[in-house]
């Protein structure tokens, strides 16, 4: 997928990769401030210290903190998928009685796609506890963080769903209805399966972004990976902890990115095969 076919392609792509990487490394190593920057960002001792953490010295394990990011991401994703679908279906509905709900859904999507996620996190995390409601106002901060992620990302993902629904040709509905399927069963068994297949790559794209945005919940005082790295940096005056957090986030997101690539490729091949035969 990266290289053109054949052994010659392999040689050329390998050589060019080595040259490009060498240039980057050279620029980095030969820069006048290279040693200071390397010490500030890539010092193995500080990277290890920030990875394992030591609360007695005022900082926390970045390695342990990423587990909170993973849990927040998983919880948010499970909630976003159905909520966004419902919003998309409401916006696609045509029944006159549903008009007010359609308007509300449209306003919701416009609003939460337009407001910075950080502000939603702050508003929920600082505002809801201040309401002194039973149960709702007494949740851990991570819960408000996840709620903010769900609210914001549901707006984005509903638009992805809507694009998917629109990508299925209208003749599919007509054909399904003419076979005697009701509106609902046509949606469930004909439209949705095709729509969802079309949008898996953009969905995964949004979820990669979601994984990274879990770091915004740190503003509520929750010690997630980014916050743990920041605490280390400002306690010890060394940024190597940020490198550790970056590596951990890459370990999380790269497999998902590669998986997305593979899905796109498989889907493309399948469609091309359909055309050829």
């Amino acid at each position: 997928m990266f290289a053109g076919g054949g052994a010659r392609g392999t040689v050329i792509s390998t050589a060019s990769t080595v040259v490009v990487l060498a240039i980057f490394v050279l620029i980095f190593v030969l820069a006048p401030g290279a040693r200071t920057v390397a010490h500030a960002f890539f010092y193995p001792h500080d990277m290890w210290q920030s990875f394992v953490g030591d609360p007695r010295k005022g900082y926390y394990s970045v390695g342990a903190a990423i587990w909170l990011n993973i849990r927040m991401f998983l919880a948010a994703e499970v909630l976003i998928l159905p909520i966004a679908l419902v919003i998309a279906l409401i916006r696609q509905s045509t029944h006159p009685a549903l008009f007010p709900i359609r308007v509300i859904a449209t306003i919701y999507v416009d609003f939460f796609r337009g407001v910075p996620l950080l502000l939603v996190v702050l508003a929920l995390g600082l505002g809801v506890p201040g309401l002194y409601l039973p149960v709702i106002s007494h949740q851990p901060d991570a819960v408000y963080g996840v709620a903010a992620l769900v609210i914001s990302y549901s707006a984005y993902v509903s638009e992805v769903y809507r694009a998917g629904l629109n990508s299925v040709h209208r003749s599919q509905v007509a054909a399904a209805r003419s076979l005697g399927l009701t509106q609902r069963t046509a949606l469930r068994y004909v439209i949705l399966p095709q729509a969802v297949r079309n949008i898996i790559p953009p969905l995964l794209n949004d979820f990669i972004a979601l994984q990274k945005d879990t770091s915004l919940v740190g503003v509520l005082g929750v010690i997630e990976a980014n916050q743990a790295a920041n605490i280390y940096a400002s306690t010890v005056f060394n940024y190597s902890s940020f490198t550790v957090a970056a590596i951990l986030f890459l370990i999380l997101t790269i497999p998902l990115a590669r998986f997305t690539d593979r899905l796109i490729e498989r889907d493309r091949r399948r469609r091309l095969a359909g055309v050829a035969t």
Binding site: M1, F2, A3, T10, S13, T14, T17, V18, L21, A22, F24, V25, F28, V29, G33, A34, R35, T36, V37, A38, H39, A40, F41, F42, Y43, P44, H45, P55, R56, K57, G58, Y60, L126, P129, G130, D141, G218, V219, L220, G221, V222, I223, Q227, N230, I231, A233, S234, T235, V236, F237, N238, Y239
Partner: protein, 291 residues
């Protein structure tokens, strides 16, 4: 094919990182103390010109916003507040007039970034620690720090704060502060403290009952309790652990020698004490408790 390329890239990157690691280990030697030992030719105004960020002016950095009683009205150049006054006193010792002092904004996180600094010294309640002194050069102390507890009036910690009871509360603090280190090292609470990007966020969390108490230096704590937060109170202060605030200079900046001379003079002639009395005096009479 793809696997091979990815593996190759990983090896190349790892090699690069390893190279960085070895090359930096020699430069990472701790300096040990806050002051530089390198001799400076002369601390006269003309003698230090080549050490300045901008010749002819003393460029002083601090964060934005800055808080009372360290600064007043978020305006460092008005000479009001303890840190503003100390900065101008140091400037006078170094031979600068008030108009020759320029203030610049430097966020806490970039004070210790590698590379050239856009200021001569930073004054922003930065505590000296040996680890931090590996990245920047600290001046000697201009303020000895003690930590205090701020809590809401009537909350349990205001009456129940024996050593064992202190461990049971949920604390919050600003990121990178020695108050946070103090909570973890000396109070050792059962619940993990919450860590906020700014003290203002920690204060809102206190007001929203999301934390039981926060720990910060005594003058800040007193100001928060007396003026910033409606229902808060300074519970007590902890005994000193030898912590102090220092001016922050670029690593190895020889100006530190002259700044230290200036601070020594200001300390001997009583200026620091009178400034402390003027700007922090009302803030410093509190019962001490042991964690």
């Amino acid at each position: 094919m793809r696997r091979f390329l990815v593996a190759g890239a990983a090896v190349a990157i790892a090699g690069g990182l390893a190279a960085c690691g070895t090359s930096s280990s020699s430069s990472g030697a701790p300096s040990g103390s806050g002051s530089t030992s390198t001799a400076v030719t002369s601390c006269t105004t003309s003698g230090i010109q080549h050490l300045l960020f901008k010749p002819g002016v003393l460029t002083v950095a601090t964060d934005n916003p800055v808080y009372t009683p360290w600064f007043v009205n978020n305006t460092p150049k008005n000479g009001k507040g303890y840190e503003s006054a100390v900065a101008y006193a140091v400037a006078t010792q170094l031979g600068f007039s008030k108009s020759q002092v320029t203030w610049v904004h430097e966020p806490f996180n970039s004070v210790y970034s590698p590379g050239p600094k856009a200021f001569d010294f930073d004054i922003n309640e930065v505590s000296f620690t040996p680890q931090r002194a590996q990245a920047v050069t600290f001046s000697n102390s201009y303020y000895p720090v003690q930590q205090s507890i701020v809590a809401l009036k009537g909350s349990p910690i205001t009456t129940a704060h024996s050593a064992a009871q202190l461990k049971t509360y949920l604390y919050g603090d600003q990121i990178g502060t020695t108050g946070l280190a103090y909570i973890n090292a000396d109070i050792q609470p059962a619940k993990q403290p919450k860590v906020f990007n700014t003290l203002a966020l920690a204060a809102s969390a206190l007001e929203a009952h999301r934390i039981d108490a926060l720990v910060t230096d005594t003058p800040t704590a007193q100001y928060m309790a007396a003026y910033q937060l409606k229902h808060a109170v300074l519970v007590a202060q902890f005994p000193t652990v030898g912590e102090h605030y220092g001016l922050v200079l670029a690593k190895g900046n020889q100006l530190a020698t002259c700044v230290n001379q200036a601070l020594a003079t200001l300390s001997q002639n009583g200026t620091l004490a009178s400034l402390r009395h003027k700007w922090l005096g009302v803030y410093l009479h509190f019962p001490t408790i042991k964690p």
